[in-house]
Amino acid sequence: MSAGQIVFIVIAVGAILGAVGMLSSPNPVHSALFLVLTLFCVAVIYLLLGAEFLAVIQVIVYAGAIMVLFLFVIMLLNLGRDEFGPDPHRQQYPISYLATAVFASVLSTAGLAVGLRFAEPPGILISADRLAHLLFISYLLPFELASLILLIAIIGIVVLVKRPRGGA
């Protein structure tokens, strides 16, 4: 087993542990912190795959901005407590686990059926300026559209959370 293989397995286990922690911790703040762990692990795998730029924005945008936003809302709404009594849909749990297991195996099968291998040569991929070239030349229109979507999101948020005039 190569060194890369070992590093990958360690990181992958970290990511799965983070996901399990997020699902199982009753406190949403803890869930958020576990999710941050998973996101970091994913960023490391990006690095291993040669996508340094994505690794960086994964950390900045996800682990930085998005998770901070989550924590902010949890604090704002004062939700740092347990959930609310017995779950009325508890009978759905076994079938949920089953469905998830089935789905995971089917999805893995589908992925493995492709038979992925590292492309040769690897060098051309490890390059932020090539990504920039793609983004600003080939994908210029979607790029601009993305900015438009962000603008619309901002406006939508303002409309959503604005209290009606004269008090809530």
Binding site: T38, V114, P122, I157
Partner: protein, 103 residues
């Protein structure tokens, strides 16, 4: 040159993470955690994209991930705003309480 590690392993990890995100949606009642699970699913998909990008040897997959992250940022912001509005309206963030569409 042999592969530093198995890309198939990345795909399996992606499938596992995605399913765990789905499981979170299925069993958690706290809408914030449900939302985090959705983020986890998005990340799993991103991971698969990057793996495929590595497999095919060009960067289009990474461009898609870039856009996904952008849209995820927008989505999270809007989603959290919806949650805030919902909390104001119902005083709760239990997904089961948001069941006005019950037939």
């Amino acid at each position: 040159m042999s592969d530093p590690f198995s890309l198939n392993g990345v795909i399996v990890l992606s499938a596992i993470l995605f399913s765990m995100g789905a499981l979170g949606v299925l069993i958690r009642r706290n809408i914030i955690v449900v939302f985090m699970s959705i983020e986890l699913m998005l990340n799993a998909a991103n991971l698969a994209f990057v793996a495929f990008s590595r497999h095919h040897g060009h960067l289009n997959g990474q461009v898609i991930v870039f856009f996904t992250i952008t849209l995820a940022a927008a989505e999270v912001a809007v989603g959290l705003a919806v949650i805030v509005a919902l909390f104001r309206l119902r005083g709760s963030i239990d997904v089961d309480r948001a069941s006005l569409l019950k037939g």
